[in-house]
Symmetry: C2
Subunit: 227 residues, 2 copies
C-alpha cells in the first residue's frame, strides 16, 4: 500500500468520495464501469486512481466491494503528511502504521468553533466516515448565552477557554462555523493552539499556514458555482 501523501489532490478527493459510495453500494462486486455510471467519472480515471493507491486485487472481473472498501478505509485512516514522502521504498515503516484489524475504529478529536445555528446543527451530526470516527470533544462560542443554553453530549465552552481545552483534550481538527468577519482571527487562534486541520464553513478565504490543512466548504461559494 502506498501512502496518501503520494496521491495527487484530485485523485485523493475522488477516492474519499468513493469510500462513501461503497458504503451504500449493495452488490458484492463492483466494476469501474458501474462506478463510472454512478459518479460520472471516466472508467480509466477510476482505474488509474486505484492504480495510484497500489490496490491490485481487482484483476479481470471487477473489484470486491468489501475488500476495496476496507483497503480505502485503511489508506485514509493513516495520518497523512503534508509533504510527499521521500523514503518511497521504505515499505516496512509505512506498513507498521497500517492497522492490522480493520474493525478497529480510528478516533480523531474534533471541535466546533462557533455555535450559531449552523454550528449548533453539527452537534448531532454523525461524523463517522469509513472506519474513522471524528469525535466532537468540545464546542466554542464567544456568546456565553449559547454555551449555556445549548445541549449536547460533549461540553461547550466560552471562546476564551479554547486554547486550554484544545491542548488538554488533544484536539487536532476543527470545524469553523463562526461569522465570516471573525473567521481569520479564530483560525489563527486554532492554529496557534495546535489544530492541524480545519474544515472552513465560513464565506472567508483563510490565509494558509504551513502544516495546517484547510478545506473550504462555503455554501455561498458553492452557490456561485452552480449558477
Amino acid at each position: 500500500m502506498k501512502s496518501l501523501c503520494d496521491i495527487p489532490q484530485p485523485a485523493k478527493k475522488r477516492l474519499a468520495e468513493l469510500i462513501s459510495l461503497l458504503e451504500t453500494y449493495s452488490e458484492e462486486k463492483v466494476t469501474s464501469k458501474k462506478i463510472s455510471e454512478l459518479t460520472g467519472w471516466t472508467e480509466s480515471k477510476i482505474r488509474h486512481d486505484l492504480w495510484l493507491t497500489g490496490y491490485d486485487k481487482g484483476i479481470s472481473n471487477g473489484y470486491s466491494r468489501k475488500d476495496l472498501y476496507e483497503f480505502l478505509c485503511r489508506l485514509f485512516s493513516l495520518k497523512d503528511c503534508t509533504e510527499p514522502s521521500e523514503k518511497v521504498s521504505d515499505d516496512a515503516a509505512t506498513l507498521k502504521q497500517v492497522p492490522e484489524n480493520f474493525d478497529a475504529v480510528h478516533h480523531r478529536n474534533l471541535c466546533i468553533a462557533g455555535l450559531s445555528r449552523l454550528g449548533a446543527a453539527l452537534l448531532d451530526e454523525n461524523l463517522t466516515t469509513g472506519n474513522m470516527k471524528f469525535q466532537i470533544k468540545a464546542g466554542f462560542d464567544t456568546n456565553l448565552n449559547r454555551v449555556e443554553i445549548l445541549r449536547s453530549t460533549f461540553p461547550l465552552y466560552p471562546a476564551y477557554e479554547m486554547e486550554a481545552i484544545i491542548r488538554k483534550e488533544k484536539i487536532q481538527y476543527a470545524i469553523l462555523t463562526v461569522a465570516a468577519k471573525d473567521a481569520q482571527n479564530m483560525a489563527d487562534r486554532l492554529i496557534k493552539a495546535g489544530i492541524k486541520g480545519i474544515v472552513n464553513m465560513t464565506n472567508t478565504v483563510l490565509t494558509p499556514f504551513p502544516g495546517v490543512k484547510i478545506e473550504n466548504i462555503s455554501i455561498q461559494n458553492a452557490l456561485k458555482l452552480v449558477i
Copy 2:
C-alpha cells in the same frame, strides 16, 4: 468582458472566492502580491485568472478594489452556460445581458430540500453574495411535524408538494440537506421538477445529469481530506 463559460473550473472557483475576499478588504488598492499573501495562490496565477476574464483595468499600480469587485460581480451575475460559448466574437449579445447598473441585485430562487437540523440551520443564513441574492422560496421535508413546527420567513411544505411548488415559484436552485440514503432519490425529483443547480451537503455522490450543475460540500468528505 468574457463569459464565465469560457473560464476553466479551477480559475472560476478562485474568482468566486476572490469576490468574498474583496468584500471584506478594507484598502482602496489591491495588488496580486497582496492577494497572494492572503490566499496562498501565486501572484502569476491571480494575474492569469484575471487575464482569462478579460479584465484589464489594473495596469501597473494594482487594481482598484471597488472596480475589480464590481467587475467580478457582473461576471458572476450572468447566467453561466454548461457548454463553452461557440459564438466567441459575438460580444454585443453577451453585453446585452450585463446589468448596466451594478446596484441592481440579481435574485435567484432557491429551495432547501431536507429540514433536519442542518437544513433548518440554513433558514436564517444570509445567502447574499456579490450582487446576487439567493432568495429561499421554500423548504421541503417528508416529516410533516418539522414542516409544521419550524418557523421561517418563507413557507415550508411537505415533500409531496415539491414538484408543484418548484414549478409555481420558478425555483431553479436547491440546497440538498436530506439524509444520505435519500439524497439520490431527492436529487432525481428536484432535477425532474426543473432544478438547474444543486448544492449537495449530503455524504452521497450524486449521479450527474446533463445541464444540471452540482457542487458537493459534504462535511464528512472534507474531514477525510484534512487528516
